[in-house]
Symmetry: C2
Subunit: 311 residues, 2 copies
């Protein structure tokens, strides 16, 4: 948002007139931390969600987004969405370690990963850790270790863009001297293309089928699917040209996180600009970026906007 | 306890006089469910624990064993321990699946497994499941899967008696879209001999050392060690002879669970008799044994006691 204001101020300082008007947008509830889902306002703007749906989302205390916007005086008068947009640019820290590792200042973002979320359960049989011989065990945790490793291998097989994560895992009954009877865990698969994303899911499913050899059963339930997003070639090119013009080391990349640009790309030509962040850390109090990199990102944003706003 | 009373009643019914007196003992707090540690009364009898220590163990409400024995009138007058015991026999369900699977009625128990309990931690680095490429991850859960499998392999390498279990496992921060930064878990290793038990622990430690290849560190802390217990050859032989005399299918075996005989074996010749239990299930409301197997166990107990009480 500050980058957008800096662009406007720079244009005003130089009395620079564009063919298309330039607007800065702060999308309500991008993170989704208080109100789920994330990116709800850009989703309403793009027609992904109905306005009533967006306004009626509640926090843990039952307060709605609509009530809070009214209370703060931020509800506004304009209709949300529906107007034509010539181009949309969004600048962001990378939230990952690639630019820092590759010593690049600008990420020319090609699009957002597609994402599939699964709930997985491995079922075995609880039994006594002392009296049950190894060949007679049906250890659900042992089975789960093979699935966790299969997720890793499925992602590595789709290098460099495929990522797969088991972030949440619960053992039942989770007792020191009881062989686990059931393990529940999450699987998060991401890839910028649908084909490899499907192949990753199939590899995990095949690993689950092999659990029968261990006397176990596995179930996999898909709970969320977000298709891959490709940004507009013209907007991507505008970002790349800006970085080249400014002699900034840059590279093409894919966003691993979600952004408002995901929904905007459904209704208008869009692209994103990434800058490095310290140690790739984000959503943490130690999140950091250098003033030089922030300034470079603003410069690229200015040039990319100018290219599209004057054509 | 009922088996012991049945033996006494049978001897009395037949006016059978033995050279040594036969006593039936019900050891207080064998399970340790309300008061930790388990087998505290037999431990006091055998000198493993001081009497004051045993009496002062508390439940979750702070009530002590001593207070409850006084309240129930079960404190008794006799000194606990110190008297000579010619032989000790304990009959029990197997609490495991081996006798049932092998179609044997009597387990001639050779001793109790030694046991080593560890707390293990694998440390990696929390990071974003979407933005962190696979080669840059330090996934503590992925590391933990290798240790869980190493525990399995270490036990299989000490077949048929070695068992190894990871029963408790906690993932941090346990969030669907965060790569696990730390995993804490228990390791339970058991074997009837100290050498193989040590080899199992060393195999697990070697696997932890290899975590460095994944950018992870591992720590292993031993929190409990119970040495293996071997029962007395004469008492074991008395049990085997009784089973043979009664033409009962029998087999030598090792107890995977703890029993009062563990402590008694420290102060007198001891042995145990196992009978099958349905599906190997114990410590569960569906624990079950057939009347025929229970009667067979009583018969073996009677004959074994008679052999030692009349010699």
């Amino acid at each position: 948002m500050l980058a957008g204001l800096e662009v406007i101020q720079t244009l005003n300082d130089h009395h620079y007139a564009t063919r298309h008007p330039v607007e800065v947008v702060v999308w309500t509830n991008e993170e989704g931390s208080r109100f789920a889902p994330a990116m709800v306002a850009s989703g309403v703007f793009a027609g992904e969600f109905a306005l009533e749906y967006g306004l009626s989302r509640t926090d843990l205390n039952g307060v709605t987004i609509g009530q809070e916007l009214d209370r703060l005086g931020y509800a506004g008068m304009r209709v949300c969405g529906g107007q034509p947009v010539h181009a949309y640019f969004e600048a962001h820290i990378e939230q990952g370690p690639i630019l820092e590792a590759e010593k690049r200042v600008i990420g020319v973002v090609q699009g957002l990963q597609g994402q599939r979320w699964f709930d997985c359960t491995v079922q075995g049989m609880e039994s006594h850790a002392g009296t049950t011989p190894m060949p007679r065990r049906r250890d659900a945790l042992l089975g789960a270790t093979h699935i966790v490793q299969a997720v890793q291998e499925a992602a590595l097989a789709q290098a460099p863009y495929g990522v797969g994560t088991v972030g949440q895992l619960i053992v039942h009954p989770n007792s020191r001297n009881v062989i686990p009877g059931r393990v529940d865990f999450s699987i998060d698969l991401r890839h910028p293309e649908d084909g490899p994303l499907k192949a990753m899911a199939e590899a995990v499913r095949a690993a689950l089928d092999r659990l029968g050899e261990l006397g176990l059963t596995g179930t996999l339930q898909e709970i969320w699917y977000a298709p891959p997003t490709s940004f507009h070639p013209d907007c991507i090119a505008a970002v790349r040209r800006a970085a080249e013009h400014l002699h900034l080391p840059h590279m093409d990349m894919i966003s691993g996180a979600g952004h408002d640009a995901k929904y905007l790309a459904q209704v208008c030509p869009s692209a994103m600009i990434f800058i490095p962040c310290k140690d790739g850390i984000s959503h943490n109090e130690i999140e950091d970026a250098t003033p030089e990199d922030v300034a470079a990102g603003c410069d690229v944003l200015l040039r990319a906007i100018l290219e599209k706003a004057t054509e």
